[in-house]
Subunit: 371 residues, 2 copies
């Protein structure tokens, strides 16, 4: 991994926290961090056309290896010329390894030293995911950032199970490291549940393998919010300072701000699109559940301070009207707004770090908007 | 209706047919005809953001009075400041009168001299639509073009029923004419089923009322394609040459070309959006049913000759992948392509009329794309 010095550059640090402003130089994009990666499970950010993401200066999205290995499959992606050509997204892709989805979506999972044997949630077909296959898949995808295959137990879990997951994650990380031939960068993943000592052990074991970047996995899988924050803080502090840190699957705008202060650089989360399809909008004044009758004649935009195309044009009452009558336009517009909201929030965080004003930055309220 | 001379200007006519190139000057847009109006039933063109429609130079969309009278209702639209403000669409709206939807969607319809009594398809609530209410609704909407309430029997129907519909449509047209106070233009609607003599009678009765424009209604309601063409041709020829003619609810690109040659200026149809959501794309080489296995590894765009954002970026194989896995992005992207396809097709028709080359213009094949 030559040129690592230029792969991740830290341009500024927050004096009062571990937050930093950085630049991640990937084959298909330079990503300014802290960055949010919209989730494109099947290779599309549900309901949000790539033209819009580009116009909002989104540089990187995430795609799910588990879903893509089932359809269109390794050979399908390979014949299509990789994920960028297959999807038409010309900027950067981070792909997860499939480990998390195998555990959360597939049925009849059987984790062995070799890998995970499972049945597809689509058709029950038997399949096997190994560290080597996870690498082969992500290399064929042409992922800008690939992730090691890890073992992610759902919490709460007995300590012994988490301990085994940490150990197997380390052995798999080593196999991933050896097997990785892709053009992109490979990140290791730290496990360990809510146990400080296991997280420490995992961080040391994974860091010793010298990855281009490090992810904190196995968070937001059933534990308390306060636990997530504690683990994120202590684990981030044990990861190499000069490498990018990625907190997988987290979270709300407030969660993200907290994690940025703990030193996290990369985020992904389904919340903006999944909640968008359910009619939940993120705004600077709290969340808007558009179905609520109080918005029936509310002529204001979802977020009066938002500059997105949805807020520039449409009222809450109009979006509610479309949503309650199941017009497909409603989930699409609300998803667009939400993704724009997340991307703008990250820009505000980056601007605040650059201006030395991160301590003053307050996250949007987590509750519902007040009148 | 002052300034009618400038309301509709005919700039060119085709030598070999009744086709003409025109300009319709409405309060919110000047519409170049022949024009296609994407259908925005609830005030949104399903899945296609207004930003895109504007960028494609779409000047007018259609909204359905029946749906809007149920939700958000007359008072709701009035309090929102009309349809343009409610929806955020700043260009022209044509609204139908609700007559067709009452007959096709509502239950327990009872047509009397006074109007149509029916039950809402949403919640069974009893409601009544009269010519006067249809006018009040469309005036409150601020429609650029409003339509008279007509009686549209589903075909086949006994001649006596069609005859009654023609007579009642004429009496209602007179009431609409008297009741209309809106800022927009009011169009009359000709009925008469597939009977030449009834169509002639209806055209004469409606034309005698001196409307700003005329629609041919009650087509594509169960009759043969050949019948639609015959009726369109003969009815269009009986409508005042200097007024815009609108063929309601028709049709495929080929149907539209045929009707343009018969002298029709305005069209609306749910096909591009409804078929888009079902995974059917219109292309210059025929239709693409994206679910078909033959597109599984087809790296070509939906239509290789199309300049829309979807065809510029995405392959059939990618769209199929998203569609079969029920990703909301697929119906959205295919709807976008289809609406763009229709708008482009109308531009090609207008260009051909302007260049005196309409006879050479061939419609896209109606069947499925060949390999």
């Amino acid at each position: 991994m030559e040129n690592r010095a230029t792969f991740f550059a830290i341009d500024a640090s927050d004096a009062g926290s571990s937050a930093r402003l950085g630049r991640l130089s990937l084959s298909h994009a330079t990503v300014e961090t802290p960055a949010f990666m919209p989730v494109g499970t099947l290779g599309a950010v549900k309901g949000v056309p790539f033209d819009l993401l580009e116009s909002w200066d989104c540089r990187i999205i995430l795609a799910n290896t588990y879903h893509l290995m089932l359809r269109p499959g390794l050979d399908g992606i390979r014949r299509a010329g990789g994920l960028h050509r297959f999807t038409g997204w010309p900027r950067a892709f981070l792909t997860d390894s499939g480990g998390f989805q195998v555990m959360s979506l597939a049925t009849q999972r059987d984790v062995t030293e070799e890998g995970v044997r499972f049945r597809s949630h689509l058709d029950g077909a038997a399949a096997m995911l190994t560290p080597e296959l996870a690498m082969e898949l992500q290399a064929a995808f042409g992922s800008d950032v690939a992730m090691c295959l890890d073992v992610c137990p759902a919490l709460p879990a007995p300590r012994g199970e988490v301990e085994d997951a940490v150990a197997l994650t380390a052995r798999w990380a080593e196999r991933c490291r050896r097997a990785w031939t892709g053009p992109g960068r490979l990140f290791g993943i730290v496990q360990g549940g809510t146990h400080e000592d296991l997280r420490r052990r995992s961080a040391e074991e994974i860091a010793a393998l010298d990855f281009a970047g490090y992810a904190i996995g196995g968070v937001a899988v059933g534990e308390e919010k306060r636990e997530i924050e504690r683990i994120t803080r202590s684990t981030a502090a044990r990861l190499p300072a000069g490498r990018p840190r990625y907190l997988m699957g987290v979270g709300t705008p407030a969660d993200i701000l907290g994690a940025v202060r703990a030193g996290i650089d990369l985020f992904d989360c389904v919340l903006p699109t999944r909640n968008g399809r359910m009619g939940h909008a993120y705004t600077s004044a709290g969340s808007v559940a558009i179905k609520n009758a109080r918005f029936r004649e509310d002529g204001r935009p979802l977020d009066p301070s938002c500059a997105c195309p949805v807020c520039r044009r449409h009222s809450r009452s109009y979006l509610r009207h479309l949503f309650v009558l199941s017009d497909i336009t409603a989930p699409v517009l609300i998803s667009m707004h939400n993704v724009h909201f997340y991307l703008s929030w990250m820009r505000r965080i980056r601007d605040a770090i650059g201006a030395g004003r991160l301590p003053e930055l307050a996250p949007p309220p987590e509750g519902k908007v007040e009148e």
